[in-house]
Every structure is written in structure tokens, then in C-alpha cells.
Symmetry: C2
Subunit: 328 residues, 2 copies
């Protein structure tokens, strides 16, 4: 009936990465989400209690995009004992004009990691101070590394501090990042010490207990939280949300269901005070009001970003003739 | 990280079809659905209004099944003018123990067609009279043909009548079916004439106006409706639902949202009177109460059936070494 281009993680790493075009592709979807343009259904979740696992499906149709991604993310938390990673997934991309399958992206979650890091950069570009040069990150996984690297696309970062629950992992990330960034990356003994003096703080953990409380917020700080993506996870204390000068997120509906807004709203925080990042980018709502303001942005991750990065990956793969084509 | 087996429609047609094992695989999931075993989220739908299209995603986890299917169905209704089929899709299958992707089934909707036809046979096996030999079908598409063929697996069918809005298509289907079935298949000028004298009537159309009303129901008739799968579609008149001796369906939640129950419930029909097919199969609820009873079964199609047929297809493909393996 047609051909489907199949790409592996390695091939996808060859066509998309932390670049300006990828950043622009992710950035431009936020105003569409916030304006209600296109169609983005709620996340579909299949629970697999017998294996301590879950499968999440995200998707979105965005006018002007050649593809529609259907992204499947897997989280099976007993996998490490079997020698397998906990997280994985893939994306399927369909032609937005005909529904015909275009591509299968066997990315093991790479595109999700990428678009999440780029979302952090988008948040920093629109909410942190332009001169922000000191960044701190909580967590030492793939996303911690990518968030820091993505920040360098939009801000003149020249100092980075890493904290992680496991100090050895924080050290390893610092050692890995230092040569890439061209300056010394330090580690901190506590989240408080990491946040002290930072212009931008990014939280990337699966924590179920808040790591950032109101005592850690100082004038001029911008915080981006990317870890919470499910009921029960929380990185930012309700008190911190309450005292910030502005609370932002990618999707109010999602943040209230499975992000940092959930606990805050339960505690009485008025969700009408929340501004979506897309409204800021579109100029329809204010972002940072002054240099000393404290801003927080919660990113839960949307199907729209998946469609954005997948459409770009498919277009580039086609031009590069990357991957293999299967006649269906 | 592993290998993903990729199969095309042609290869899938080589490993699964209208057989006893496939019928058993589909049949055994209904009691699980009705008992609430496993996890089957609501259908995810992405609307694509600019292209008169929609993408539906179904999935289910069923204990005891090696795979979890995530099935994407596309319906783009302006496609025929472009020389493309309106309907399409594919399935991705994940290991139910680890979430690792097992297989990509580029089936163009074949497995959906197959499991839908087998579902019709399951309904007939549990709800029609055992001696039912006369079948009628409304519609003349792929599903009309498959429903009739699947019925022959469970009932001693020896007469078939076809009605379709387009008489030429009904004639073509009758001509195609006659040699396969070994007896003459006739066509009818109206749905009424098709239903008259039938023991089993199967409706397979995308009609938005009821085709079967109470005047067409006669003692002993069993009706299976498989066409309605979206708000706005309806094959069975509310009056027919009201006078039948038993109304059954695959999933009450789905039938009430996008199947034949929707209009009936709106008109005041008590959904507590509805029995799920799985409860009948499990012996937990009565099916046909007497030979002269009139029964109706609405099948909207479930992610559980997709997981059932996909798991079987993946197991057989692996043993047959069908398709290609991609290192991810």
C-alpha cells in the first residue's frame, strides 16, 4: 500500500539532536497548545500491576505539521533486576493529511529525552533572566545532562552545580559535563547548596517527596521542574509554589492531574493564577515581571512536543535517506 | 537494546486467519473484560478536522498474554478522492512483563478486520440458536465477507443473503462468496427482505440512520451489529433494542458512548438491562433464554481483542521466523 521508513535510535541520533532547529520546532508548539489549536487528547495509560509497569500513549495533531506522532512510553520498574532499563518506548508517525503511516521510530525514548530537554531550554528562554549564567540541576540521569546542555543554547551558562541523591552519580555527571561545557562542573552535598546562588534550577528526579521548598527560593531564581509526570510524584513543595511570583506550566490540565500543580491545587492554590508557557511565548500573558522575580515552570511533557520532534526527525530522515523502507 | 520483529500485511495474512485457534484467542478475552481483569483504558482519539480524519488508539493489558498491543486505527474520509483507502492502521506489541517492544505489525487494519469478524462468530456461538443455518448481512465490504465466513466456523450456515446500499457491490460480494461457501449466495433489494427468514442478521455498515427496526425482528432471530464505532453512527433503531428479549454487547461503557446503546440510553432504555458478552461466556449471566427469543449484540471492538490477536500473531511469527528483525 505504501512504504514505512523504520529508524533505530542510532539513526535518529544522527539526524536530530540539541540544535537550534530542534529548539525552534519544540518552541513553536506551545502557543498552539495554549490557544487550543489542533487536537491533543488526554494521555492514555495502561496499567500492568503484575509487572510493576505502565504504558503511556501521547499524541497530538498540530496544523502545519506533516506528521502526527503516536508516542508509546513504557515504564517497568522491576526491569533493572532483569538487566533491562526501566524506561523505553517508540513513536509511530502518520501523515497528517491522509493518516497513512510514514515512519516507525524505534528510539528507546531518545526523542522524548531530547524534546524534554529542549522544553527546559524554551522555559528558560522565556522565564529566566537573560544574563542567567549559573545553573544547578537536581538529579544525575540522562535528563540532568541534557537539560544543562540545552540551557547553553539559550543562556550564557558558565557555572553548573549538580546534586543527586547518590553522590557518586553526581560526581560522574560532573566529570562527564566539564569537558563538554569547557568549565568546571561542581557537585553539591544538598539540594539547598545546589540552589544557593543559582540563576536557573532544573529538577529532573522521579521524587515523590518535594526537594525544593520556599527557603531555597531567592530573588531572580527561575526553577524548571521536569521530573513529575505521574500521580504521586512531586519535586516542588506547595509552599514554594505559593510564594513564587509566577507559576507556569506546559499544560494546566496535565500539570493539575500529574504534575506539580496537583498537590498545590489540593492545598488550595488557585489554578487560575497559573499561566501556560504558550501564552507567554505568544505574548498573550506576562512572563517574568522583573529581574528579582521568582518563577517556577512545571513541564509534564505533551503529545504536541512529540509530534513536533517526530515530524522533524521524519523529514530529515527522508532527506538523508536514513533507516530502511518497508513495503507494506 | 534488543530486536523488534517487523511484519507486513502479507506476512501477517500468512500466519493468522479465520481459524479455530484465532477464534478461541478472541473468545477468551471477553470474560476478562467483563470481570474487570487487566487494564483497558478508554479509546484515545485525535481529531484531524482539516483532513476530515481521525486517529483512534486502543490498548489493553490482559494477564496471561505475552504481549500488550497498542493499536492505531486511521480514518481519513477524503482519501478515496486521492486514490487512497479511507481506513488504515497498524499495531505495536510490547512484552507484557518488561514493556520491551516486541513487534511492529504493519497490517493496514487486517488484524482489526480479522478480530472483528471473529467477535461476530463468538457472539453467534453464544447467542444464536445452535441450528441457525440462514444468515443475512447488511453491507458488502470487507467486514461483510469476513463476518459470513467467520459464522461458518460456529454455525451450520447453508443460506446467505446480502443487502447493500449499492446493489452492484452486493452482487459482487454474492458472486465472490458463492464459490467459497459452496452454495448460492443471494442478494436482497431491501434490508427487510434480507432479514426475512434469517436466523442470524449481521450489520456491517457505517450508517448514521438505523437500518434495522422492530418490524424486521422475528422470533428466533439473532442480530449482531458491528458497524457503529463512533458517535453519530447507528444501525439498530431504538425501537428494536426496546422490543428484543435480550440486548448484549462487548463493553457497556463503549457501547453507551459510541455504539448502539448510545441512542437507546438517550431515549430512556435502561442500561442495567444490558448484558456483556463476557458475562454470558463465563456463565455469570443468561444468554438466549429460548429458541424463539430475539437477541441483539452490539460489538464496538475492544483493545482486549487487539491484544489477543496481536499476541497470537507475534507468537506465530516468531516460530515461523516471518518478517524481519531490526536491531534497536
Amino acid at each position: 500500500m505504501g512504504t514505512i521508513r523504520v529508524l533505530t535510535e542510532g539513526e535518529l541520533r544522527g539526524v536530530v539532536g540539541l540544535g537550534e532547529a530542534e529548539l525552534a520546532a519544540v518552541e513553536e508548539v506551545y502557543p498552539l497548545i495554549s490557544a487550543g489549536v489542533g487536537s491533543m487528547p488526554p494521555i492514555m495509560r495502561v496499567e500492568v500491576p503484575e509487572s510493576n509497569g505502565e504504558i503511556d500513549v501521547k499524541s497530538a495533531y498540530l496544523p502545519g505539521h506533516s506528521g502526527i506522532a503516536v508516542k508509546v512510553s513504557t515504564g517497568f520498574f522491576d526491569n533493572p533486576a532483569k538487566g533491562l532499563p526501566s524506561l523505553g518506548g517508540l513513536m509511530m508517525v502518520f501523515d497528517s493529511g491522509s493518516g497513512v503511516p510514514q515512519s516507525a521510530l524505534f528510539d528507546n525514548g531518545y526523542l522524548t529525552d531530547l524534546r524534554t530537554a529542549l522544553a527546559g531550554a524554551v522555559a528558560a528562554r522565556h522565564l529566566s533572566n537573560a544574563a542567567a549564567s549559573k545553573a544547578a540541576v537536581l538529579g544525575a540521569g540522562v535528563q540532568a545532562r541534557l537539560q544543562i546542555e540545552a540551557l547553553t543554547l539559550v543562556r550564557p551558562i558558565e557555572r553548573v552545580t549538580v546534586w543527586a541523591r547518590r553522590a557518586d552519580r553526581a560526581e560522574a555527571l560532573a566529570s562527564e559535563l566539564s569537558p563538554r561545557l569547557g568549565f568546571r562542573v561542581e557537585t553539591a552535598d544538598t539540594p539547598q547548596m545546589a540552589a544557593a546562588g543559582a540563576d536557573i534550577l532544573v529538577t529532573t528526579t522521579p521524587s515523590t517527596e518535594p526537594l525544593v521548598d520556599e527557603t531555597m527560593l531567592h530573588p531572580g531564581l527561575h526553577v524548571t521542574a521536569v521530573g513529575s509526570d505521574a500521580e504521586g510524584k512531586q519535586e516542588i513543595a506547595v509552599g514554594a509554589v505559593a510564594v513564587a511570583d509566577g507559576f507556569f506550566c506546559d499544560s494546566i490540565a496535565q500539570s493539575a492531574r500529574l504534575g506539580e500543580l496537583r498537590a498545590a491545587v489540593t492545598a488550595g492554590f488557585d489554578r487560575r493564577a497559573v499561566i501556560e508557557l504558550g501564552s507567554v511565548i505568544a505574548g498573550a500573558a506576562p512572563g517574568r515581571l522583573r529581574e528579582t522575580a521568582i518563577t517556577i515552570c512545571d513541564l509534564t511533557g505533551t503529545g504536541a512536543q512529540d509530534t513536533a520532534i517526530a515530524s522533524l526527525a521524519v523529514d530529515r530522515s527522508r532527506r538523508a535517506r536514513a533507516g530502511i523502507e518497508i513495503e507494506t
